[in-house]
């Protein structure tokens, strides 16, 4: 009996899908947030393995760290459910989310059956050997401008959303 060759990437990808499934199927919101953080951490490991260290560092620090903190803060500021509500909701959730593993299995079977031909031609480009910093600051500098605008818009949005009103003006 021969053991099929399974690479580390395949194991990581399988774990990523399992973590995503756990995130969606999990009963508690906190567990879903932890599942999302695990998915994000696995994606950042895959990015390191795909020679994209800068994107991996961003993914690890921002998506795994900051977004998890944002979610946990939001969940902690909302009221926890009572035991009765949890029981009622889990029955309803079981009905709605119970189909997901079946859908995943069917999608996997369909994807396995589809034969895609390798007729993709890679167009020649000038930035194949370029450094990521060079691309960001010289070629895609408008993206940087857009990022700054988005961060300012986000900061203003947070200020407006979280400001305490003295009286109900609306």
């Amino acid at each position: 009996m021969t053991i099929p060759h399974i690479s580390i990437d395949t194991i990581l990808l399988f774990t990523m899908v399992a973590a995503a499934l756990w995130t969606v199927m999990g009963r508690s919101l906190l567990k879903a947030t932890i599942g999302l953080a695990i998915t994000s951490a696995i994606i950042s490991i895959l990015m390191f393995r795909l020679n994209s260290p800068l994107a991996a560092v961003f993914e690890l620090s921002v998506c795994t760290g900051l977004i998890t903190v944002v979610f946990v803060s939001t969940i902690s500021l909302t009221k926890p459910l009572t035991h009765k509500e949890i029981v009622e909701l889990s029955k309803e959730r079981h009905k709605r989310f119970g189909y997901l593993p079946i859908i995943i299995i069917v999608t996997a079977i369909v994807l396995t059956l589809i034969k895609i031909r390798n007729n993709v031609a890679v167009a020649p480009g000038a930035d194949i050997t370029a450094d990521v910093r060079q691309v960001m600051w010289n070629i895609r500098h408008l993206d940087m401008f857009g990022q700054i605008l988005i961060i300012i818009a986000g900061a203003l949005g947070v200020v407006i959303l979280f400001e305490e009103r003295k009286r109900d003006e609306w």
């Binding site: 990808l13 995130t23 961003f58 895609r140």
Partner: protein, 106 residues
């Protein structure tokens, strides 16, 4: 594209599609606002990984990394704003149920 790169792309693509399906299903089925944001996050993560894989198999790692960094910045801002909106809605309606948002009608 070389055979090895193509095979790598197909393997990654297979699992990326499955992750995307998880996120899409969560977004479609859930009625909780925070869980909807989590579904959106899963979708963005699947797309981010796909862009990195495409960069790896085509040899344009630098360009795809720059794009992914931009996507991550947008993702964070969207998540923070959506989380803030969910919190405000909770304080207003005392519920995170999406069905309670019909008071915006009119």
């Amino acid at each position: 594209m070389s055979g090895e790169s193509w095979q790598s792309f197909l393997t990654f693509g297979f699992f990326i599609v499955l992750t995307f399906v998880c996120g899409a299903y969560c977004l479609l089925v859930t009625r909780n606002m925070i869980r909807a944001i989590i579904g959106l996050e899963l979708l963005i993560k699947a797309v981010t990984l796909l862009i990195i894989v495409v960069g790896h198999v085509t040899g344009r790692v630098a360009l795809t990394q720059a794009l992914v960094i931009t996507i991550i910045v947008i993702e964070v801002v969207v998540t923070v704003i959506a989380g803030g909106i969910a919190l405000r809605v909770f304080r207003h309606n005392n519920s995170l149920y999406i069905g309670d948002l019909n008071k915006l009608k009119g």
